[in-house]
C-alpha cells in the first residue's frame, strides 16, 4: 500500500508535472535499451505511417514509385474515393447510433440488476454472477444463427436496432458483474441510515446509490461504446443492406475489393483508424483503466 509522506506531497506541490523530473544519470546501457525500444516502436507504428503515406498518393505515383516512397504530389484522392464509395458519413452515423444506445441501455440494465445483487444481496447472487460471467465468455458463434432466425421472424433483421438490443444485453452481462462487485463494497451504514429515515428502495437507488456510482457507470458506458464500435461477426450476419452498415463492418467488407486500387485501400484503412484514435485521445484515462476488462470479451 502506498502511503504518501508529507515530503512526497510537498515535492508534488513544488515540482509541477511540467517541471524537471529527478532523472537518474544515463549510462551506455540506457542508451542501448533506448535504441532497441525505439526501433521496436518504429516498427510497430510503421503500418500506420504507411497507411497515411499511401492514402495521400495518386494511384500513378503508387504504381511508379512503390509504397515506400513519399508522395510526389499530395492528394486526398484515395480518401475521398473511399469516402464516397462507402458513403462514409452514413456509416459513422450508424456506428454512432448503435454505440450510443448500446452504452445507454446496456448500462441501465447492468445498473438495475447489479443494484439487486450488490445492494439488495438477493439470494442466488453467486449463481447470477457465474451465469453472467459465462455468458460473456461464450463465443458469439453459438448465438448468431438463432439470433439471425429470430430477428428475421420478428422483422428486425437488417435493422441497426436489433444490434442495439443484442449488444446491450450481452454487454450488460459483463456490466452487471463489474457493478455488482463495486456496489457490494458500498458502505452499509449509509444504507441503514437511509432506511431509518424512511427511504424506500427506489429512493435509495436514485438518491443514494446512483450519484455515488455515476463515475463507474460513465466508464462502463465508454467501454461499451468502443466495444460495439469494433464488433464484426453479428453485424456481418444481421446487416445485409449497405445503408445500415457500421464503420467496422463496411471496412471488413472492403477487403479485397480494392486490390487494384491500393491508394483507396490505404485511404479506407486511414478513415477506419481516425475515429478510434479520436475516441482514445478523448477517453484515454478511462480506456486504459479498462484494458483488463475488455479482454475476456
Amino acid at each position: 500500500m502506498s502511503t504518501t509522506t508529507t515530503e512526497q506531497i510537498a515535492a508534488k506541490i513544488w515540482s509541477p508535472s511540467r517541471g524537471k523530473q529527478n532523472l537518474k544519470k544515463r549510462g551506455l546501457k540506457n542508451w542501448m535499451v533506448f535504441a532497441i525500444i525505439a526501433l521496436v516502436v518504429l516498427v510497430w507504428i510503421f503500418p500506420f505511417y504507411m497507411a497515411l503515406d499511401n492514402a495521400l498518393k495518386t494511384p500513378v505515383d503508387y504504381v511508379h514509385h512503390g509504397p515506400l516512397s513519399l508522395p510526389r504530389h499530395v492528394t486526398t484522392y484515395g480518401i475521398r474515393h473511399f469516402w464516397k464509395l462507402s458513403n462514409f458519413p452514413q456509416k459513422v452515423m450508424n456506428s454512432f447510433i448503435v454505440s450510443f444506445f448500446v452504452a445507454l441501455f446496456g448500462v441501465t440494465l447492468s445498473f438495475l440488476t447489479a443494484f439487486a445483487i450488490g445492494i439488495g444481496r438477493i439470494k442466488g447472487r453467486f449463481v447470477f454472477l457465474a451465469v453472467f460471467m459465462v455468458a460473456f465468455t461464450i463465443p458469439q458463434e453459438s448465438l448468431v444463427f438463432p439470433l439471425y432466425s429470430i430477428s428475421k421472424k420478428i422483422h428486425l433483421y437488417n435493422s441497426i436496432w436489433v444490434l442495439v438490443i443484442i449488444f446491450a444485453v450481452i454487454y450488460s452481462a459483463f456490466g452487471t458483474y463489474m457493478l455488482s462487485v463495486v456496489m457490494s463494497s458500498f458502505p452499509s451504514e449509509i444504507l441503514e441510515a437511509a432506511k431509518v429515515d424512511g427511504a424506500n428502495t427506489r429512493r435509495i437507488m436514485w438518491n443514494i446509490v446512483l450519484p455515488i456510482v455515476r463515475p463507474t457507470l460513465l466508464a462502463l458506458g465508454t467501454f461499451f461504446f468502443v466495444w460495439v464500435w469494433n464488433e464484426y461477426l453479428i453485424p456481418l450476419v444481421l446487416l445485409a443492406d449497405n445503408v445500415n452498415q457500421t464503420v467496422s463492418l463496411s471496412l471488413g467488407l472492403t477487403s479485397g475489393q480494392y486490390t487494384s486500387d491500393p491508394t483507396t485501400q490505404a485511404g479506407a484503412a486511414l478513415l477506419g483508424i481516425i475515429p478510434s484514435v479520436i475516441f482514445y485521445l478523448i477517453f484515454q484515462r478511462t480506456l486504459s483503466r479498462g484494458v483488463t476488462l475488455g479482454a475476456v470479451k
Binding site: 503500418p47 465468455t137 428502495t201 490505404a266
Partner: protein, 310 residues
Amino acid sequence: MSVATVAPKRRSRRNSRDSRSIYYWYTLPGVIAFVAVVAYPLFRNIQISFTKWNGYGVAKNVGWRNYAKLMHDSSFWVSFLHAFEFMIAMSIIPTVLGLIFGALIFDFISPYFPKSWTTFFRMGLFMPQIVPITVTSVLWTWLLSPNEGVINNVLKSFGMKNPPDWLGSDHAAILAISAVCIWIQIGYTITIFITGMGRIDPSLNEAADLDGANWWQRFRAITVTQLAPEISIVLLTTTVAAIKIFAPVQIMTGGGPGNSTYVPSFYSYFNFFTTQRVGYGAAIATVMVLLLSALSIFLFKFQNSRTVNM
C-alpha cells in the same frame, strides 16, 4: 483486475426477508432480456446441433451424428490445431515479449529519460489495440499483398529475391496472421505488466542489487514472480481471445488457401452461412461453448479467490 470481493457480508437481522424480496423486481428487465438474447438462442443452438438443417426447410433430427462426424472431420481438428497456434501467437509470445519490453522500459528508460518518451513508447505499442480489428485486417491485407505490398517491397529492398505471397500460400498464411496477432496483442500485455511493475516493492530490487544480481537475474527472480497474478490473468484472457479469433481470418484469408487458416469460429460460421450445414455449424459452436465456459469458470474462481486474499 483489482476488484473488491463479492463475498457476502451478513446484514443485520432487521433487514428481513420481505424487504429484501422487493429487490427481485429489479432483476426482472435484465433477466427477461438475458433469456431472450442469450439463454434462449444458446439453447436453440444446442438443439440445432442435433439436427440436419439448411436454415430454412424442415430440420431433421439426427441425434449425436453431427458430433460423431466432427470426430472424423480433419478440417475440424485442423481448425482447433490452428486455434492452438494462435494461442502461441496471441497469448504466449505477447506475454513473454510484454514482460521483457515492459521491464526494459520500466527499468532502463522511465527513471532515466523524460516522461514523454515513456508515454510515447507505450502509446506507440498500444496503437494496434485502439484500432478496430476489421481495420487492422484491411490494413494488413494491403501491407501483405504480394506484388505491390509494403512488406514485400521492404523485403526486396533488403535483397530478398522472391518474397512469398503471404496470404496466398499454405504455409505462409497462418504465419502472417499470427504475426499480425502478435503486433496487436503486445500493447495489451505490456500495459498490464508495466502497471503491475509499479506495484512491486522497490526494496526487493535494491536488495538484489546489493547482492550483486544482474538485470536478467532480477528480472527472473523478482519481476516475473511478483507479477504472477497479472501473468495468469493475461494468459487466461488472451487464451480465450485466441480460441475465439474470427475477424482477421475471415477478412484476410477467408480460411484459405484450402483450409490452411481455418479456426473454430470461422469453420462454424462457414458451415452456417456458406455451406448451409447449420446443424453441423451449431455442433462446432457448442464445442466451443463447452471449452470457453470451462475457461471462464476457472477465471471466475480465480478472480474471486484472488480478490478475497487481497
